[in-house]
């Protein structure tokens, strides 16, 4: 039952991901990306991590994709544009991409059993109450790294805004 | 401003341009020749007639010089009116004053649209009330009021609009 769900959601995520790069229309691509995020969120649910799942929905499917769609809508008013990369992807390089993804899948299949055993594994989360666990990881054990990353991101944002300024 | 004084000042600045001075039921009116018209209007603007109230076109059809164009001026300082009349034959241009008064822009467009008097130097002389490919000028006295061609349909195919 669970495995079936995982297979369906994983398949959906993969299909969405493929459609992201194969859609002609940019907004459609972005929409498939939202679908991808949602499928991933459901996968997280199967891993018993509700919190991560809902974060996936709020942050990625909600906020970030909203930004991206806003930007796309702002830039091209419904005239779908095809860049060279997209054209290339629909031709021979598509096969290459599929190969790459299969490799990735294999890699994931090899790694995941190890990862799922640790303290962050689904069974541990179900037992412990995952928000506490994650909060503990981020704000107690990894506080220094967390703060450093936030400073780095802030600097990156400031830099990006500075570079993107019109004059 | 006393209208008489203004007209005197005008005659001093551009002599011989005022062809006729008349009083139409309380509104002073001067008739100006087309060639000195623009200069007269500039002078009047400097003399304080800062608002162009309206542009009136009249078709006097049997007359040789067919059209009258009357510019109604107003001074908002002391509220005095002055009408300036310029005559134009068919096919003759009247110098546009839309560079002096912005309101002349639409006023002259309307006269152009409805009477077919063109204004030289007008920045945007298009039809305004009638649609673009309308034929004829409705306020001319020889415009047919009824007949076969009277009620032409609005043709969206040939119209060059903003899109």
């Amino acid at each position: 039952m669970e495995l079936l769900g995982i297979i369906i959601c994983g398949g959906a995520a993969l299909a969405c991901a493929l459609l992201v790069i194969l859609s002609k229309n940019t907004v459609h691509s972005a929409l498939w990306m939202v679908g991808n995020c949602l499928a991933l969120a459901v996968l997280f649910l199967f891993l018993n991590s509700q919190f991560i799942a809902i974060l996936q929905v709020i942050v990625y499917a909600g906020a970030i994709m909203m930004f991206i769609i806003y930007a796309i809508m702002m830039l091209n008013q419904r005239q779908g544009f095809e860049t060279d990369i997209l054209k290339g992807l629909r031709s021979g390089r598509f096969v290459l991409l599929c190969l790459f993804m299969i490799c990735l899948l294999g890699l994931g299949a090899g790694i995941s059993p190890m990862a799922l055993k640790g303290e962050m594994g689904p069974h541990a989360m179900a037992k412990f109450g995952e928000v506490d666990l994650i909060a503990n990881y981020i704000f107690v054990q990894g506080i220094a790294a967390f703060e450093l990353v936030s400073v780095l991101l802030t600097a990156a944002v400031v830099g990006a805004v500075f570079l993107a300024r019109k004059d | 401003m006393d209208i008489k004084k203004a007209v005197d000042a005008l005659s001093r600045q551009c002599p011989d341009c005022v062809q006729n001075l008349a009083d139409h039921n309380g509104t002073c009116e001067i008739t100006v020749a087309a060639q000195s018209f623009h200069k007269v209007m500039e002078t009047l603007h400097e003399l304080g007639f800062d608002m162009l109230t309206d542009v009136v076109g009249i078709d006097r059809m049997p007359r040789a010089v067919r059209f009258d164009v009357i510019y109604l001026l107003l001074s908002t300082r002391d509220f005095s009116r002055l009408a300036v009349r310029v005559e134009a034959a068919e096919g003759e241009d009247v110098p546009s004053v839309s560079g002096i008064w912005h309101s002349a822009n639409w006023g002259e467009r309307e006269v152009f649209d409805l009477l077919g008097i063109s204004f030289s130097g007008h920045p945007d002389l298009r039809r305004i009330l009638m649609w673009e490919n309308f034929e004829g000028h409705p306020l001319r006295k020889d415009f047919p009021l009824e007949g076969q061609d009277f009620d032409k349909p609005f043709d969206t195919e040939t119209i060059k609009d903003y899109f």
Partner: protein, 390 residues
């Protein structure tokens, strides 16, 4: 990616906020307007052309349809022009009744403006308060003339009929009732923070530019030019009444709003003075060419019947000549350039429409603002398409 960064937005002629069939083609950069082109003519009925083949009396109802939100003021302007050409003297009582009707019409027009302007900016309740009061004036119109919106009450040479006691009572009641209602409008809008941010410093036009663009009426007075035809060229006994001409300072949407709100007060003030000092006497000039005989005369006197028939079907010959005569309509200077040739029809009647020139100033006012401001600016100019297109 795309060559032009601007979007063309075709606002109107079917748009809820363009007050009729005004069409403005906006060129937008994001939400900012970089270019605006008003397109008019969708309501062009050729009134000026029709007038050339109608008798002077028959033209009167056409003038109602110019600025249909304040119809009586148009009647007054037209009648004054014809009377001036004929050299008619109008009895004092008729003049006072005309003033009352014209000022009621101005209040009616301003009611429509206030309601729709506020609705455009998003305050949807004001229009119902304004229309409640407008309804009272409609009832007065109906009482005195039989028509609610387009009374055609003011006639060449006087007015259609004498004011009834009922009408006078209604006007008195309205004069008492309206100032508190006006306070209500003020409470809803004037101090409202959102209202002030939406209207202050929007659509600003300096006095010089406003004059140059041919703005008249409240839109010009909002810029600080105290030009009011009622004061500058008094007509129809306006000299008898004591009233102020409110002016603004900056010439933005808010100032135009305040000027109109103050005009409500001044108009009600004029009506109050006129109704209290209403002189007695005839309501129609005694010139037999113009004064259509009363019903009672027609029923007893054959010559009166013939005369009435002649006036109504053949029309009144008006001496030749040209003149320009203007009144202060609800939107600004409403002028009639009348050319008579001695016959029963005018040779040419040019209507100086205030809204036409208000609309011509739209590009100047809109550029640089946002789409939402465009709505506020169009609302603040208070254009009526019936008068723009004629």
């Amino acid at each position: 990616m795309s060559e032009s960064k601007t979007v063309t937005l075709n606002m109107g002629p079917h748009h809820p906020a363009t007050h009729g069939v005004l069409r403005v083609v906006l060129e937008l950069d994001g939400e900012k307007i970089v270019n605006a082109t008003p397109v008019i003519g969708y309501l062009h009925r050729g009134i000026e052309k029709i007038c050339e083949s109608r008798t002077y009396q028959q033209i009167l109802p056409l003038t109602d349809r110019l600025d249909y939100s304040a119809a009586s003021a148009n009647n007054l302007g037209y009648c004054l022009a014809v009377e001036k050409l004929m050299g008619l003297e109008v009895p004092k009582r008729a003049q006072y009744l005309r003033v009352i009707m014209a000022e009621l019409a101005r209040i009616m027009g301003h009611h429509l403006w206030l309601g729709t302007h506020a609705l455009d900016i998003g305050a949807m309740t004001v229009i119902f308060y304004a229309f409640r009061d407008r309804e009272m004036i409609m009832a007065m119109n109906e009482e005195i003339s039989g028509y609610r919106l387009t009374p055609s009450f003011i006639r060449i040479g006087g007015v259609a009929q004498d004011a009834t006691e009922d009408f006078i009572g209604k006007v008195r009641k309205f004069v008492k009732w309206f100032p508190p209602a006006l306070e209500g409008y003020h409470q809803l809008l004037t101090e409202n923070k959102i209202w002030t941010t939406r209207t202050m410093n929007i659509g600003t036009i300096s006095a010089g530019e406003a004059v140059n663009h041919g703005l008249t009426g409240p839109s010009l007075r909002g810029s600080g030019v105290a030009y009011d035809v009622r004061k500058a060229f008094p007509y129809s006994s306006y000299g008898d009444f004591d009233f102020k001409v409110p002016v603004g300072e900056k010439g933005d949407v808010y100032d135009r709003y305040l000027v109109r709100m103050e005009e409500f007060k001044q108009s009600i003030n004029i009506i109050d003075q006129a109704i209290e000092n209403l002189p007695s006497g005839p309501i129609l000039t005694d010139n037999p060419w113009v004064a259509s005989p009363m019903q009672s005369e027609v029923q007893t006197d054959i010559s009166a019947l013939i005369r009435r028939f002649m006036i109504n079907y053949k029309g009144t010959p008006v001496p030749g000549g040209e003149l320009y005569s203007a009144v202060e309509g609800a939107k600004g200077e409403l002028g009639f350039y009348l050319v008579g040739d001695g016959g029963e029809h005018p040779y040419r009647l040019k209507i100086r429409s205030s809204c036409f020139y208000l609309a011509s100033a739209l590009p100047r006012l809109l550029v640089g603002h946002m789409v939402a401001d465009a709505i506020a600016i169009i609302g603040s100019l208070d254009v009526v398409l019936g008068e723009i297109d004629r």
